[in-house]
Every structure is written in C-alpha cells, then in structure tokens.
Assembly symmetry: C2
Homo-oligomer: 334 residues x 2
C-alpha cells in the first residue's frame, strides 16, 4: 500500500533535504533558499527580488468533477490554487505553466471553456501563460499548474516566522466554498451566479492583500487556507514551533455556513477557502480591511510545551483542542 | 473530439501570445522573454543570468509502462526529459519540482525505487528537488516534472537562430532507444545492463555538452531529440524559417539500429534519443567530440522557398523529402 498524501509529501521533503546542492554553487539565480514545507519554494532571483515557485495538481474526480464544475470554473480554480500560494508568501505572480492531460473523448468545447476561465483570471493579475505540456490521459482530465512569482529579496513571508505573543488574523469569510460543496454532494445544484457560489466556483486569490502585507513587512508568518483552518493553522504552528489559541466568537464564518453553534465549527475543517491566515506582532497595526477584504483577529500564538497544538475557546467558555482534520479530496469522501 | 497534441500545443501557444503582460511590467524577475515554441521558456532572471523553465509529463502507458520499465528507470527518465530541455538551451539546471499522482494500490516500494532513480540523476547534475505536489490518481502513475535552469543573459540557444549556410550537427548516436522500444513491443525483454539498453532506460541528458556550446556562443540554434530527428529538425527549420539538407551517409545511426540501408532511416522517426541537434556557422570550429560525446556533421541549412522542409540525400545519390513522423506515444502505437 502506498503512503497517504501527507506521509508522501513528508518523505519527498526528507529526500529533498538530503539533496542539497554542493555549497560552491549557492548564491546564483535558481539556487534554493527555502524548499518544501511552505506554500512556495523560494529561490535566488535578482538583486532586488527572490523567485517564488509553486505547483498544484487539479485532477478530475479528486479536485473537481465535470458533472459539478463548469469548465470555466475548473480552469479558474486550477490557476487560483497556484496564485493563492504566491499570495501567501506576500508575492506577485508573473508567469504560469500549464501541463494538461486530456482523455481522448473530451469535447474540444470543454477545453476551450477551461482555457477561457484560466485566461480570464490570468489577465486579471497580469500573469503570462509561458509554457506547459500536453498529452493524452488514460482517464480523466489531469492539469498541473506551475506559477512563478517574485517578492522583495528576503521578504517572503514564511510559515515558520510566528512567535509567542503574535496575534492571528484571517481574511474574508470561512466555509462558503465548503458549504457549496456540501450542497453538491447532497445532489443540489447551486445557482452559479449567487455570491455564495462564487466562493466555490470562482474563488478570488488574495493577491493584493498578500502583497500589501509583504511590502510593509507586517506579517510574521502566513499560509493560505486551502485545506481548512484547522489543518492550515496546525501547519503554521508546527513550522513556527509555537501553539495557537483562537476564539470561536471571533471567527468570520460565512453567512451560508452559519447554523447551530456547534455546526459552524465544521467550516474550520473545510478546504478551498483560499483566504489568507497570518500572524503579526501584538503591536502591529493591522486594518480591519485590506485591499477591500475584511480582516479578522481571531486569536494569539502562545509558547508550545511539547508538540505545537491549536486550542479553541468555544462560545460557552470551554476550551478544547482543535484537531487538524485535513481536507479530504472529493473522491474519498463521497 | 479533442485536438491532437500538436494542435493543442499550437492553440495554447496562440492563447499564450495573446496574454502578453502589460508593457510597464517587463524587465523584472520572472517576466517572459521567450515563451512556447522552444525547449524551455526564457524569463528575466538576474543581472548575470536568464531563467529557464520547462515542464514535461510522464504518464503511465503513455510515456512508460510499469511492466516494461523498472521504477528506477521511470524516475530517471522523468527527470531526464526536463534536464535535456535545459541542455538544449545551453543552460545549467538548478532546481526541480515533482508533482506525483499515484494510484491507491501502488506498492510503496515502487515509489521508493522511482525516487531512487530520480535522485541519482539529480545528484549527478547538482539539481535540488525543491518542491512539488502529491495526490491520489484514479488510474496509473502521473508525474509532471518542472526543471529550472539558468543561462548567461541573452545567451540561450533558441530553435529560431539558424541561417542558410549553417552546418547541422548531432550528438551521440540515433535510434538506440527506439530499437529497445521495438524489442519491448515485440515481447522481448532486453538485458537492462547492456550498453544499448541504457540509452532507453537510463538516457544521459547532454548537460555538459549543451553548456560547452552555450558558454562559447558557437551554436546558432539547438533542439533536443525527444520526438525523433525527422520531427525535431522540422521544428527547428520552421522556427528558423530555413530548410535543411542532410546526408544519409553522415548520420550516426546506433549500432543496434543498423540494418538494411532503407531500414536504418526508421531511426530518424524514433523518439527519446535525448541527443542534441544544433546548427553553427559554416566557419565555426566544432570538435569531433565535446565533453566525451561524439559530434557528427550531418548536413547544411539552405534558404527556404515556401514552407521550410528537410531533404535527405540517400546513399544511392537520390534526394527525397524527409517528412516529420512525430513520435507517437506508446499507447497509440501498440
């Protein structure tokens, strides 16, 4: 049996650490500064900028379903996954590469509409489609997106920079995308034009907000919410070596995901919000809104005794550990 | 019905051309210089270097078969495809990113051996595995390799630089890999340790040779032989807007592919030689051997009247057009 996804990534990461370049070569364009374990790899760039690189699969029946997602949405979401990783480093995206494997019977119209959704988002952020590969797939659509970006030298916001005493912030609202997915699973067909549906079908990566934080050096650590807050905050804690305490009352749960009190916490386990989660020094002045997007302070980092963990202070005043319930891909759950 | 691979790439390329960045942003790290239509995209890098990026799929039953290829070979070939593209620009590889989709029932041992083959080649050329993605695949192994490299600023060797009068050269020998594939198709199991088999299972990308040419500015145009000489030389002719005449007697056909005279031309249609095909001014001094690899002069570029084409002067003195018979992936042929 193969390893589950997280184990596999951990193993690749271990191998990657063992494959460091001979030291004589460090310091030139393309040499690695920070590798696996963050939203992007950071590589040596120019005198002014470091280079950011991220890659993400979009596999049919794992990350999307053709019966559920219109082709424009699949193309948009494919690129949005990569852009959101660049945003989470405080960077600006420059170029994208798309490797596309297509089953022999897919209608050309589907491919055209996929590219339409992809390119509309690319244009909005000045990202050039600079290359890629194409092949026939034995089963299902296979897309692999690579996005390159840049960030002021030494200014990339890593997952590992949080300290005890830092405040924790999250952008936008949580759970809107996951709620739509619940509806799709239960057989309903959401209205694609409704605002709540857009969070799932056409999520907006927080590019300007991420750059705003990056340019001002205000955030000590950052991650994008692709796997759900319970999992992604745990990642940030582990990489930073500190624990987190968050308050349920401060969580910006999306309107379509508010229900009974206990239920609303489900939204913390849902993925694909593509919001940003970041920390900042207790005295940093973080506005309530950045680049038009609301920003909520949800808790604080504290020193970790032993393994870093996330504690939630519930509405009834009780405290409990928030376990990371990693985003399970579509096929396994349904 | 979808478009065939070349048509799809052509269409993506057309779309890519339409997605040029606003001109105000050109000139910084990661901005595009040369996009689709070459072995790598060339992007703005540092003061000293331009950045090279290439991506290539390795799909089970399309680019390899688990019954035919040991896992170490699949890992090696996966990375070799990307490295060879960097070599074809005259560049040096720095970092690789691997996106890996695995079926749920693949043995962990297979993955470990795949990584062993991948990392052995990576170490040989000082390439760091810097990131990637992992997911469960519905069917078959899906690998997408991204390789980053660097080349002295403005010195990338493009496919489009050949002029009438330039001489045409090819490295190593042609057809050795394709002959092994023919054997596999006919049910034979080649001895993996035989020298001829290594050309197929463990092809050596021509990194040092490519850099040697790049550093001296000797080659006017270059491409790697991944789709077979008849196809790749045609690509180079189209991009350069000139035609080619090659001599059959000068072709370095691999020993295992020499047979009846007419048969030996088949080797020009076989892919995966991962040799380099390049052009140089008629007076350029190109050694018979570079970095230990033999180099053969096989013909000349001439002015194209109308559409560029490739003519071969046969052993019997006759001339005929060499049609590009593009590398067909495994599944379609067998």
């Amino acid at each position: 049996m193969p390893l589950p996804e997280l184990k596999l990534i951990e193993r690749l990461r271990h191998q990657a650490r063992r494959s460091q370049r001979p030291s004589g070569k460090i310091g030139d364009l393309g040499d690695l500064i920070t590798g696996m374990g963050d939203d992007c790899a950071v590589l040596r760039g120019s005198a002014r900028y470091d280079l950011l690189v991220t890659t993400d699969f979009s596999l049919e029946n794992v990350h999307f379903r053709r019966a559920w997602h219109p082709p424009e949405s699949v193309g948009h979401r494919c690129l949005a996954r990569g852009l959101s990783d660049i945003a989470a480093m405080g960077g600006e995206a420059t170029a994208a590469f798309l490797s596309l494997g297509l089953p022999s019977r897919i209608p050309q119209k589907w491919v055209d509409r996929f590219m339409k959704g992809f390119q509309a988002l690319a244009r909005r952020y000045g990202v050039v489609l600079a290359g890629g590969d194409a092949a026939e797939s034995a089963r299902g659509v296979i897309a692999d997106i690579i996005v390159l970006g840049r960030v002021q030298r030494g200014q990339a916001i890593l997952r590992s920079g949080a300290s005890a005493g830092d405040a924790i912030y999250v952008t936008g609202h949580l759970g809107a995308s996951g709620r739509v997915l619940q509806e799709l699973r239960s057989g309903r067909r959401p209205n694609l034009k409704a605002a709540a549906s857009r969070a799932h079908f056409f999520p907006e990566p927080r590019m300007k907000l991420g750059q705003w934080l990056g340019q001002r050096g205000l955030a000590s650590a950052m991650i994008d919410l692709s796997d759900g807050l319970s999992t992604d905050l745990a990642h940030l804690c582990v990489e930073s070596g500190v624990s987190a305490v968050i308050r349920q009352e401060s969580l910006p749960i999306a309107e379509n995901s508010r229900g009974r009190r206990s239920k609303s916490l489900e939204a913390l386990d849902w993925g694909e919000d593509y919001e940003l989660l970041f920390t900042a020094g207790a005295r940093a002045k973080i506005p309530n809104k950045i680049a038009g997007v609301p920003v909520s302070r949800i808790g604080e980092m504290i020193g970790a005794k032993g393994k870093p963990k996330v504690t939630i202070m519930a509405l009834d005043g009780g405290r409990r550990e928030l376990k990371p319930r990693g985003w399970q891909h579509f096929r396994r759950r349904s």
